[in-house]
Amino acid sequence: MDSIKDIWLFIINRKKYWLAPVIAVLLLLGILIIFGGSSAIAPFIYTLF
């Protein structure tokens, strides 16, 4: 949570608001990739792409 807070503060500080949705999607994908490594979510990733 600390890191998410840091990223949010960074976006506000740099006024790079367009990065917020990009990072959000990437983080979401990141979570899927992490889970995807060893779970049934893996096939779901392929349909996303």
Binding site: S3, D6, F10, R14, L19, V22, L26, G30
Partner: protein
């Protein structure tokens, strides 16, 4: 008095440094402990050593500082991919998992890494992040002897910045001007390193060493220079550059350059690693070296113009280009120049710690205007008599223990003069890429065959690579046209005319391989093809043992200089412990090893002819 730990890691050359009240207590690169060259992992061993040297625990630290800002770097990455899209998808897909899994959560990585170092209370740790080029700037300015100075940092890339000009006054640094990614002098040089078949981030020295084999007045070299400046890079009057990204691939690709376009430009394909080096490779190396020097000189001119300062301090990987540094000296743009010896990313750990001490905590800075803070760069671990004895038992080594150091230096000087190669291991290990007389391989510079012998039988590396001299500081001008001190081997200067030998009439028509072994001076093994030498001046006050040895050599031969090359073989980090030194000694054709007051003769060691028994596998760099 603040105790600060600086860390650099996760890219290349991980390191740690501790400052206490603005004094550098210890600094070391992780590769020396893990024995993996350019180790990028969390510097657990280096931190452990630094804490031990300072007598501190993690909880005693006032701050821990990382040498760059990961979120800013991530911003650069995303904006670059966005700007070049849809190009760069493959690189994006490769980079993102690493970022999303590790680098974006750097705080956690650091806290996890610190757990391996020792117990700590997370609430007591103040974790800070310094900008990459500020870390470089701080490593140069705060370590320098100057109260005020212009600051020039040049490297591949940090967050956005690839070069910066700043000014340091007392305990403050202000960055005035920056050059941003993808336009980068470091990456331009690395692109040529790559195209000429050397490894990026480690082969840049080789490119610099290859350049003097180029023919400076050959139409091909002149043509290459014009092509570089006409097609690849536009150099502005203030030293800023613009790289035509149509020719480069590093911003979004997995290679440095566009092979097809570069082959068309220069008329030959990229050289593959390990293949034969031909004259056109040397000519291209010379062309990019000259262009780099032109850019560095223009940047320095701009730094002088906008700061008005008489002193210049430099850091960043490009500041390790000692040929360019030598030109900077000769052009006399500044009265004094100081270059951080650990100018690469390892030095960022030190710079980050110093920046926090002076800028964040606003600690007072004092300097005598003469001595720097680096203490000869001897900031790493040293080993006691007890530890050397333990190694002797473990390796079953055969040695002579000298109780009189003068007798030891006299004996070793005699052996050097008769052509022996000596591994010299003393005191604290050097911080930064250079061995400066505490972890060095030494030999007689007068021996015309020594360069070949050292390259091929000791270091197991390319035959073209030059060697550097260590000379008694007070005798420097006897051999070289170099006025200021160069204790960190960061300046190249010409060998004086009285030591040069006449070259064959057809010298310039000879192939580079034939010119390589032409005797050019009475100190041929440290005289490069263009009569230049990368000089280390040895000062009694910073390394009295090394000074004594060279002085003993002077008493016996009249020459006050030796070849000094790092104590390692190709691909191996410089030795750290006595056992590393003994192992390296036994795996090469080195004749003698000296560790502290112990002397080991190769032919007396058990099973000494069985070199393979001692050889270690290192990835060739």
């Amino acid at each position: 008095m603040k105790n600060i730990l600086g860390i650099s890691c996760f890219y290349h050359d991980s390191a740690a440094a501790i400052t206490s009240g603005g004094t550098i207590v210890a600094a070391a690169q992780e590769e020396r402990f893990t024995r993996r060259k350019h180790d990028a992992g969390f510097p657990t061993n280096a931190i452990r050593y630094c804490l031990e040297e300072a007598g501190l625990t993690l909880n005693d630290l006032d701050a821990i500082v990382f040498y760059d800002k990961p979120l800013l770097k991530f911003e650069r990455l995303l904006e670059t991919y966005f700007a070049f899209a849809p190009k760069g998808l493959l690189s994006f897909l490769k980079a993102m998992p690493v970022w999303l899994h590790e680098k974006l959560f750097l705080k956690k990585q650091i806290y996890d890494g610190l757990t391996d170092v020792g117990p700590y209370d997370k609430r007591k740790i103040k974790l800070l992040f310094s900008e990459h080029h500020l870390s470089h700037a701080a490593s140069a300015f705060y370590a320098s002897p100057y109260r005020n100075a212009a600051i020039l940092t040049i490297d591949g890339v940090g967050e956005w910045s690839t070069a910066s000009i700043g000014i340091g006054k007392e305990n403050k640094i202000s960055i005035i001007k920056e050059l941003h990614f993808p336009h980068s002098v470091g990456l331009l040089y690395s692109a040529f390193t790559y195209f000429l078949g050397f490894r990026v981030n480690s082969g840049e020295y080789k490119l610099m060493g290859l350049a003097p084999y180029g023919h400076p007045h050959a139409p091909q070299t002149i043509g290459f220079t014009e092509t570089i400046k006409g097609k690849l890079v536009a150099i502005k009057e203030d030293g800023s550059i613009w790289l035509d990204q149509d020719y480069f691939n590093y911003a979004t690709g997995l290679r440095m350059v566009r092979h097809d376009k570069w082959a068309d430009l220069f008329g030959f394909p990229p050289r593959t690693e390990g293949s034969a080096i031909e004259q056109h490779h040397c000519n291209l190396a010379l062309a990019i070296q000259k262009v780099t020097e032109e850019i560095v000189l223009k940047m320095a001119n701009e730094a002088r113009k906008i700061t008005g300062e008489q002193n210049l301090v430099m850091a960043g990987g490009v500041a390790l280009n000692c040929v360019a540094n030598g030109r900077l000296l000769r052009e006399k743009i500044f009265d004094n120049i100081y270059i951080q010896p650990a100018a690469g990313d390892a030095g960022g750990a030190l710079g980050a710690a110093l920046a926090v001490n002076f800028m964040y905590f606003d600690e007072e800075r004092s300097t005598d205007g003469i001595h720097d803070l680096m203490a000869g760069a001897y900031l790493g671990p040293e080993y006691s008599e007890k530890e050397i004895s333990a190694m002797n038992r473990k390796a079953s080594s055969v040695y002579t223990h000298f109780t009189n150091f003068n007798e030891l230096t006299s004996f070793i000087a005699g052996r050097l003069a008769s052509g022996d190669v000596v591994g010299w291991f003393q005191g604290r290990m050097e911080f930064g890429p250079r061995a400066l007389g505490n972890r060095s391989i030494l030999a007689d510079a007068r021996d015309p065959d020594m360069q070949k012998k050292l390259n091929l039988k000791i270091k197991y590396r390319e035959g073209f690579r030059p060697f550097a001299p260590s000379v008694l500081a007070e005798d420097t001008t006897r051999y070289f046209d170099l006025a200021p001190a160069s204790p960190y081997m960061l300046f190249v200067a010409p060998v004086t005319n009285n030591h040069r030998k006449e070259l064959p009439v057809n010298y310039n028509e000879l192939t580079y391989a034939d010119r390589l072994y032409c005797t050019r001076s009475d100190i041929p093994s440290v005289t490069h093809l263009d009569f230049s030498a990368r000089i280390q001046t040895v000062h009694k006050e910073t390394n009295s043992r090394y000074w004594d040895l060279i002085n003993a050599f002077k008493q016996q031969t009249g020459y006050s200089l030796l070849i000094n090359t790092s104590f390692n073989v190709r691909g191996e980090p410089i030795v750290c412990t006595p056992l590393d030194a003994y192992t390296c000694f036994m795996s090469t054709d080195m004749d003698i090893l000296v560790i502290g007051d112990y002397v080991y003769l190769k032919t007396e060691q058990p099973d000494w002819q069985n070199i393979d028994k001692w050889k270690r596998e290192f990835t060739i760099d």
